[in-house]
Symmetry: C2
Subunit: 262 residues, 2 copies
């Protein structure tokens, strides 16, 4: 592996990193695929799900938290969608976010009591990005309580899971007019930074670009650990960073009087 193992003692809700970005061009959705990472067991599990009616609506859902709970939520959403209900009938992404939240509450009704009796928390967070024809694309985070939070003009990305390592690069680069392909690079760098510093987040990476008003999903990549594009981006980035550090202006250190602070 080309990233260093750190932070091996994982909290379960940190064993993931998912990211959605909304710009004026559309959406970038990205997720890792690590589940229940630990000393002796690292499972791979997809966290990206799509609900598409070509030319009419596109929804992409990313999940974190208990796999059992998110699977139940997705199963219920899929059954409704296939029957032309739920996400298949939502008039906007906001309504879709409410439908996802209602489904979370439905699973909470079924499972929360039994989980909490044995001191497991009802833990599931979802990102929903998408577009319904005639409406703008939008991005929401749905909490375990079922309520939605929308990405705003001032805060154009939302994250799930182990969010801190990958935030600085996003804070420096993502703006309204960031082109979709550039936003996708920021997403990969954010995931790369997280995987570099935390072994419980790992490939393959699912990366999906949705161009506004296309109402189809035609740009998707699953990047395995040894994917040559991913390695090239990683090494190219590291050498660019090192060059950039070398080129930073020098810090002027004053010779300091010995009588200064203790």
């Amino acid at each position: 592996m080309w990233w260093a193992p750190r932070d091996i003692a994982a909290r379960k809700d940190r064993v993931t990193y998912c990211l959605g970005i909304v710009t004026s061009d559309g959406l970038v959705m990205a997720s890792d695929s690590r589940s229940n990472a630990g000393y002796d067991q690292v499972n791979v599990c997809r966290k990206m799900y799509r609900f598409v009616n070509e030319g009419e609506r596109v929804f992409v859902i990313l999940t974190s938290g208990s796999l059992s709970i998110s699977q139940s939520v997705l199963s219920l959403l899929r059954a409704d969608f296939d029957a032309g209900l739920g996400l298949a009938a939502a008039p906007s992404v906001y309504h879709a976010a409410r439908i996802v939240g209602d489904t979370v509450r439905q699973v909470s009704e079924i499972d929360r009591e039994a989980l909490e009796r044995d001191n497991y928390s009802f833990n599931v967070h979802l990102l929903l990005g998408g577009q319904v024809k005639g409406q703008p694309p939008a991005l929401y985070l749905i909490y375990p309580q079922g309520n939605p939070l929308q990405a705003t003009e001032d805060s154009r990305y939302l994250q799930l899971g182990e969010v801190k390592y990958g935030r600085p690069i996003l804070d420096r680069g993502i703006e309204a007019d960031t082109p979709l392909e550039i936003a996708a690079k920021y997403a990969l760098l954010s995931l790369d930074a997280t995987m570099r510093s935390n072994v419980t987040v790992g490939p393959p990476i699912d990366l999906l670009l949705y161009r506004k008003d296309s109402l189809t999903v035609d740009r998707y990549r699953r990047l395995e650990a040894n994917d040559p594009d991913l390695r090239l981006i990683h090494t190219s980035w590291e050498s660019s960073l090192r060059r950039a550090v070398q080129q930073l202006p020098e810090i002027d250190f004053a010779r300091e009087p010995a009588t200064d602070l203790g």
Copy 2:
């Protein structure tokens, strides 16, 4: 302010960021100065302390956690030092780390019970970097329990407080042979990334470079929020990052069959 306010709801033990780096050239010690940041009250408090006998020994201590506790620890260490005891007599940095740890345990004896009765934890972490003549420089983290952890060949930096935002840049750049001035730039970038993504960590920044075998402290800077060098490094870095992202290789997105995963 030139960093965005986020994460305002601060946990107290996250209201700080301190960093020590040890390379074959010497030590870099850096700390922010924010204390008890909150909605209506942001105090500035120095977290860097020095114990120097020129030509014989240099110790630099950075602190996080309860200010009351760290002040007590430092007061006791200072009184002993001024009397030619404690850190003034330690035969190596390891022994010095043990002396700091013993002092933590001494304050724990005095304060822990009263704190825990009112549900405050006995929370103090310290970084100790330095050198005693004839011995190599070394860097330690001292836990609230008093035990020390040393920075190693494979892990050349130690952090306190809000550690995650600033870690990726360090993981990419710090190595044994990193020149001291370059290591100092990495330290500033690590602090810059943390301040950018978390409002509870803030300037002024204390930055100290210790060159191996110099046995004196003559390179120290306190960088205020509006320090022109700090602003120049910040803007130069952001524009370098943006250029580097632009120059990353393109990601090839396959046109994907519609029958792919859900």
